[in-house]
Symmetry: C2
Subunit: 269 residues, 2 copies
């Protein structure tokens, strides 16, 4: 089982190999640190009759919802980002929501799959965090071994059909002299949330206490550091849950889909 | 009528004023050169049941189909890009296609409008041509008072539902020393076709004779100049016509929709 294979051994594996291990049930853990330099993706699966509104929502809110690929109804292969992959069984863990309620957490979708399901793959912050590290900008929650702190803001997304709700942001404390570098490094990746939405003023987003994130863990903000906020991939899931669709399937938090795309390719997407 | 108002007088007008003139029937001519510095948009209107596939097509082919806004079914006001505008009467001229055939050219859509129509506004090359001129890069078809030459390529768009077909490109001859500048100036505007898709090798796109464009006019290529190709907004119209939808409405060529957006705002879209 999962314990047999070390994260370190898969740090530079090809995503195809790791997807195969996952499909064989040999990896059920979060995917952070695997296949470094490759794009990992958020997954949202919805019935076809809600797909238009969700696609439009993503189109209108590209910072929290950067679309990498949308499959045809019933199709399980993301032909553009991971040919030969099977979205029903190549993620380590899935969550199934019915009418907005978490119903189950499963390790494959073989039993539940239907011909009317449309899969959306969305860019993920792992891509821009790698870019920050390459640019010499520290990423605090990685240093502290925590989940990134996330906050529900008072800023509304542009609504589409039943999908509406607030923007969710993630926060990383950045030493003041490195702010321009952090902005530039992340702005290169609009398909992975892109540049920050706010620098240094949590109140303007309606955030009153950085020590109490709505999701994830609080992190240390050191003297001389400024909280910087990026649009977060939790946004579309939070919005979809509010909309209470009859069925919605997502990856389990941290258990992302490994695409074949190289991070750098997204810079020129 | 149109002859009473000079293009020059409207070169720096606010788009709202020009839309009002159009709505009053006082301007029926092409919109090139009007409201300089503001974003002009291609318009494609389709029935709701085809909107998902067309939206997905645009999402998957962002270079030829850079979406600026999508209205709700039946809505005539593009609230994000031109609040208070009416898409049924604020363009100088429209084309109505039924089953892929041009049926009529009209000056408003009041009689034909239906509650299931979805409007797509797509970025237009005027935005990046203005950026080229500001960067000191010549734009030949403007110098020669012609339409830009356009070519159907052998490169396929990523299909979505009934929408599929070849990429159409526009060509501008660029003096070799100015190629990097032309690329950089246009790459800043992904919402207006962005960077070129090809530099200097028409054969790689299946283009055999630059003197015989599929649409528009041939232009002079001088010694030391290289043909540079950009994805063209004619692509989605050509693709939609191939798909023969029961009803499709577009702007008449050159008779674009004037949004309130400033060109420069698109650089940070």
């Amino acid at each position: 089982m999962a314990e047999d294979i070390s994260r370190h051994a898969l740090a530079h594996a090809h995503p195809r190999e790791v997807r195969a291990l996952i499909r064989q049930g040999k990896w059920r853990l979060p995917t952070a640190g695997l296949c470094q330099g490759r794009v990992q993706a958020n997954l949202v699966i919805l019935p076809r009759d809600l797909a238009y509104s969700f696609l439009l929502f993503a189109q209108q809110n590209p910072k929290p919802c950067p679309l990498l690929e949308v499959t045809g109804p019933g199709s399980t292969e993301p032909v553009q980002t991971a040919p030969s992959a099977d979205l029903r069984q190549d993620l380590p863990r899935y969550r199934i929501y019915r009418h907005g309620q978490l119903e189950d957490e499963v390790t494959d979708l073989m039993a539940i799959w239907r011909g009317d399901l449309v899969s959306f793959l969305l860019g993920c912050s792992f891509t821009f965090e790698a870019a920050m590290l390459r640019a010499g900008v520290p990423v605090r929650h990685l240093e502290e071994g925590k989940n990134v702190p996330m906050y529900i803001t008072t800023r509304s997304c542009q609504p589409a059909g039943i999908f509406q709700g607030p923007l969710v942001v993630s926060m990383r404390p950045i030493p003041r002299p490195l702010i321009p570098r952090a902005v530039q490094a992340t702005a290169r990746f609009p398909a992975a949330h892109g540049r920050p939405v706010q620098v240094g003023n949590p109140a303007s987003l309606g955030i009153t206490d950085l020590a109490q994130p709505d999701f994830g863990d609080p992190v240390t903000i050191r003297p001389g550091e400024v909280p910087v906020f990026w649009a977060c991939g939790v946004t579309p899931q939070a919005v979809a849950m509010r909309a209470k669709p009859p069925l919605m399937i997502t990856h389990a938090p941290g258990h992302m889909f490994l695409t074949d795309l190289e991070d750098e390719a997204l810079a020129a997407y």
